[in-house]
Structure formats: C-alpha cells, structure tokens
Symmetry: C2
Subunit: 101 residues, 2 copies
C-alpha cells in the first residue's frame, strides 16, 4: 500500500471528472460529509456501514482521481479532505450548489 497516493494538481482538475465523481449518490454523500472538515476514513460513515472495504476504497479512488478529495496517510489511518480551495478556485460556486441540500 503506497503511503502517498497520486492526486491531480489543481490545474489538472477536469470539470467533467468532478461532475462524474459526484454523479453517484454514495460518492456525493461522502463529499457532503466532508464539508464540515477532514475526517478519518474509518469515521466516515456516509456510506452503508456493511459495505465491503474494497468498494468503499474504490469510491475514494474515484473522488481522489477526479480531484474532489485528498486522501493522505495519517498514522495507520487515512485522512480525507474535501479540496474546497482548489475546487472553488477552479469552478467557483460549483461545490456550494452541489453540496447544498
């Protein structure tokens, strides 16, 4: 398990990738839960709790590769962060409208 996973640079974030990542209800729920601040992956219970961990990990991968979240090692855990600054800079107003509800 590589400690550091690849993240797209701010300038590389594509709008269509972001929209696709958020077009799934479970992934959208994850993003919404991160609005209030970073969260350990284990503490992220936005998804079905008895979902296999490989599936949950896959959700995170899609969100990470799209540039929606950061996923960084934190001890033996993973810290998830919404890339609010990057997304606001690149697509002003998008997050606010999508995560509202």
């Amino acid at each position: 398990m590589p400690g550091e996973l690849p993240h797209p640079d701010r300038s590389e974030i594509q709008l269509t990738d972001v929209l696709f990542a958020l077009s799934d209800p479970e992934r959208l729920a994850i993003a919404r839960q991160l609005v209030d601040g970073p969260l350990d992956m284990a503490a992220c219970h936005a998804t079905d709790p008895d979902l296999p961990k490989s599936t949950k990990s896959h959700f995170m991968k899609v969100l990470r590769e799209a540039g929606v979240i950061r996923n960084e090692p934190n001890g033996r855990r993973r810290m998830l962060t919404l890339r609010r600054d990057d997304l606001d800079a690149r697509f002003p107003g998008l997050l606010e409208s999508v995560l509202r509800g």
Copy 2:
C-alpha cells in the same frame, strides 16, 4: 417517432442525474451551446458534425431524461431548450458554475 417525448417534471429532476448528464464533454458542450437560447437540433453543431445522427439523438435523450434540456417538435424539426428556470429553481447556482467557461 412520437411527437412528444417524455420529460421529467421539475420536482422529479435528480441532482445526480443532472451531474451525470453533464459529465460527458460532448453533452456538456451541447448544454453550453443552449445557454444563449433555444436552438433547432439541426442547427446545434456543438458535437462533431460527422457524428451519426443516432448517437447525437442519444446524447439528447440523456440530457432530456435528466431534465437538463427540453426536446420538442417544431415543424419537421426539433427545438432544444435548456431548462434554466427549472434547474435554477431546483439547484441554485449549479448551471451558472457548470456552464461558465
């Protein structure tokens, strides 16, 4: 070819469906071209001009079923309209941020 195609009511439009519909570059380009007003489908050259018409029709179907556009008969043609009012009412700010560029 049924003259009137089914469109979701404003209250039925789902955010995830809208995001998915706009998560494809070609479909996003179509939506962007409709910002300036309705357009006959034949006049909509946002997509590759030598794209098969069945494929183009499929793009329109995805956008229509998601509630992004209206597709209404207009003589022997089809008039495409961005559902700006409905989308703005349901997801304020979303369209503005997505279609900017």
